[in-house]
Symmetry: C2
Subunit: 212 residues, 2 copies
């Protein structure tokens, strides 16, 4: 069986999708249809994984107390992280991320099963990190499928992994990878918010490859 | 500006793309048009990155001696890795991967700049691995754009990172992430080769999410 030919218009729309995939901080509070959330989680399981180990594990965080524990942890870690920055802009950025945690209707924590039986260890003898990287690509797959369905995702990384693991009562052997805010974006934009707020710019001119 | 509405047909084709994205081991030896390879590398730079740090660095490995050093390293690491397996099937798998290294017209090594100035450190205080994960998502973006253009990619992870770094004369501060074989696939398939050869199966029935 041959691969389907993807049309030029699909390829062009795919690039548009890459360009519109943003880290969203402002969400509407109305939830996604449950079926859509399921579809996005199923799509994410089509990601590549080392040795076909499929080590991604998703936790839908619905409990108010657990969400509150995550928010407190973010505030604590963020206060620490911002000490090194010039206050004004950094504080503004922090406020944005917090807004996501407050408003997003869905919270999805992503873990990786560090030593999965599935895959029989293939491909990760010299680079065991590839297991975690498989979970990262599942998140990226979820993200792209979400954007195609006009759903936004915000990745919160300013958290202490051990605290999250405990707050969510995650299984032993699971490694915390990401905490995702998911919902309909309030103000879609093609320009990264970090660029709009003046934090950092994309560097399209930069030559990112060399030849050896 | 509102996000473009992605059509139902685009969403469906996107899922087809996820399903057809395979780890390819058999390549035709004819090279990609140079412009196409450039386009794929540019597309990969649209990936998410922590703090907008864009830490991915690509090395096009064209030199025959360097390629040979990588191949030797793979054979050495793989021989070591296969000691733990039942010989027959494992040896067959190893042969497949080696075929990719021999035939693929393009070899792309991907590194991550571990402590990039760009991004000003934002978002990676508690989870510095997010920098590496950004490079992983760039690889995944490259992969998807490649499949849409009917190009195949094989990710070789059975390598010693230090040896690769040295063999490619990579810059200090760059972390080796992946060695990619790139070219037109010889036998496209929707079924993972690991599944076809009986190594492992996808587990579609498995419940990969829980609620907390």
């Amino acid at each position: 069986m041959n691969a389907p030919p993807f049309s030029a218009s699909f390829q062009s729309e795919l690039e548009t999708l890459f360009r519109w995939r943003r880290d969203v901080r402002h969400f509407r509070t109305d939830p996604l249809p449950r079926e859509l959330l399921d579809d996005l989680l199923q799509a994410s399981c089509l990601a590549p994984s080392v040795g076909l180990s499929e080590p991604w594990r998703f936790v839908l965080v619905n409990d108010a107390d657990r969400r509150s524990a995550i928010r407190s942890n973010f505030e604590r870690c963020n206060a620490e992280a911002l000490k090194g920055y010039e206050g004004d802009r950094a504080a503004r950025y922090a406020a944005l991320k917090l807004a996501g945690l407050n408003d997003a209707p869905h919270h999805v924590a992503v873990f990786c099963e560090k030593d999965p039986a599935q895959g029989r260890g293939l491909g990760r003898s010299t680079m065991p990190e590839t297991t975690t990287w498989s979970a990262v690509m599942a998140i990226h797959t979820f993200w792209l499928a979400a954007v195609a369905a006009e759903v936004g995702l915000g990745w919160v990384s300013i958290l202490d992994p051990d605290t999250v693991h405990h707050a969510l009562d995650a299984e032993d052997g699971w490694e915390f990878v990401a905490y995702l805010c998911v919902g309909y974006p309030l103000e879609p934009s093609m320009t990264p918010e970090l660029e709009r707020t003046g934090w950092e710019q994309r560097n399209p001119e930069r030559r990112v490859w060399i030849t050896r």
